[in-house]
Chain length 333, copies 2
């Protein structure tokens, strides 16, 4: 296993310290239990937005803490849910008096631990609303999930709901916009290679030199099929077809297209794929009004990509375009 | 070879089309010969900033075209210099009447082809100043270079000089600030793995399961030493020591620290390294006033990192902080 790490047990804590060193103007960290909050938290009178999940998907979620996006994030060990204690403490620290929305990706451990944390917080009088993200159309149930997995829509929901909270949206309004994004978005991913979880020390799965996995999960969970490698345009087609047919999309719709690298994919290749995403949408009569491309929800050094589509309306566009200032997403400021 | 591509010969053109599709508000592309310019180029009355080099280092340079940074960029084939014709046409297209500064990384082919393009442009009455970037302290001469190689300082010079041009700086002023950044910056990189150039179809070099290469070039050129893998903190130490001792740095200096991923390095690991970069600078009495961390100058899917330090002064900080709006760097707007 070749990684730029010290001791396996220290990776997450040391990366958090690195984030604090790199972005002292944006985030504050707590090491015991581990979480990040926006600098100067809580934002008094505003709804707080807290997310979290296993580490190894950076910049998600810590890289999305800051003005106009998350109030706090709880990083678990690599590919491991954060503990109820982490989420509870982060929720308390982020709470500005107007309640807290939990954005939870649909993995069994995450859902359970966020639920326990919400109960603990509610017992202390903090109002919490939880929304589960489940946009991945690849499989119905999966290794760590009952129902669909939560992937790319998480990033979009965190940005859009963060803008709503920044605007002074109520607890219901912020929770509702997370739900709306989740219902209006669909995703699917694929991998060319596995990644290696540090504590395991070897690749999570093996793929032949001419094989790829279509519908992969962000922890390497099996997808729909393992097939021969085909040209990039055909790979994009095989992701776009189920995303478009499963989702709420119809020709003429306004959409945001999000092309996401899995961590080890050269940007050059993401742009090659972007070209075909744009072509498929244009051919189908969709109006692509916003685009996000880069590494935002990753699986360590896995090579591959995922594609997320979000159906837009005026309000979602307005919230998407609103200023954001986090380590990984920044505009308007 | 596993890559998200169609035909090897089409990668660069298709990636350019993907960039145009993703960022229509920021860039315009030309396919024959290949270059990108800022949307609405030329900016009349302003000095134009043109760079370029082999593809495979994305987002450099195309991702840095836009307001407050580059006016144009010329992508060669993967790890291959752009042709004089590309650079000449891009220079003409970007020229807004106030002259053009060429930012050239010190690789023999780049230097030669930018020189020829500058002569062609000058023959047509366009004033061109060229500045060669050579910040890499790893080796004196290298596979494709006489003298030091140009790496991370290129990104910093493009940002800072772009702000100077945006401010209405004269041709001399813009060229001089590129020189100042180059003289005030030093870099060194390392690799855990090789990358695979698409046209070669196999890794550029082989490294054993427990080996790393210290002082690697961004095309996989040999570095200072191939040694056993050591913990991340010790790797950072072995990059920081030569960077600090070769450069113009002395304790008490204000510095910008740039921790750059080679393309296949998880962000989690970059932050682990960031922690030690911050610690070394603090121990040495340096005042780290600005930080950049992420994948900005890459080597396809190579795993590894480079560290660049820039000595700051008030004017460089002002130009660094000035608004920028490109596909890969954005703030203040």
């Amino acid at each position: 296993m070749k990684k730029l790490i010290n001791r396996v047990d220290d990776i997450v804590a040391e990366a958090l310290q690195g984030m604090a060193a790199a972005h002292p103007d944006l985030v504050e960290i707590n090491l015991e239990p581990r979480y990040l909050v926006r600098r100067g938290a809580p934002a008094a009178g505003k709804v707080a937005l807290v997310s979290g999940g296993g580490s190894g998907h950076e910049p998600m979620h810590g890289g999305f803490v800051g003005m106009g996006m998350l109030s706090g994030a709880c990083p678990g060990e690599v590919f491991t849910s954060p503990t109820p204690d982490q989420i509870y403490e982060c929720t308390k620290r982020a709470h500005g008096g107007a309640g807290v929305v939990h954005i939870v990706k649909n993995y069994t451990g995450d859902v359970m631990n966020f639920e326990m944390a919400a109960e603990l917080a509610q017992a202390e009088g903090i109002e919490v609303r939880s929304v589960v993200i489940n946009d991945d159309v690849a499989v119905q149930d999966s290794l760590y999930t009952a129902g669909r997995r939560g992937v790319g829509a998480t990033v979009l929901a965190e940005k859009i709901a963060g803008a709503c909270a920044e605007d002074g949206g109520s607890l219901s309004e912020v929770a509702d916009v997370v739900k709306e994004v989740n219902e209006s978005a669909r995703s699917m991913g694929m991998a060319l290679t596995s990644c290696t979880v540090p504590s395991a020390g070897k690749p999570t799965f093996e793929l032949g030199e001419d094989e790829m996995e279509i519908g992969i999960g962000i922890h390497g969970e099996p997808g729909r099929e393992r097939t021969k490698l085909v040209p990039a345009d055909r790979i994009v087609d095989r992701l776009m077809e189920p995303v478009l047919s499963d989702g709420p999309f119809k020709s003429g719709d306004r959409v945001l297209a999000f092309v996401d690298g899995m961590g080890g994919t050269p940007l050059l290749e993401l742009y090659v794929c972007m070209r075909q995403v744009a072509a498929v949408l244009e051919d189908g009569g969709y109006r692509r009004e916003r685009t996000l491309i880069g590494n935002y929800i990753t699986s360590l050094e896995m090579a591959g990509l995922s594609i997320t589509l979000l159906r837009l309306n005026d309000e979602l566009v307005r919230l998407w375009d609103a200023p954001v200032h986090t380590p990984a997403l920044r505009w308007g400021v």
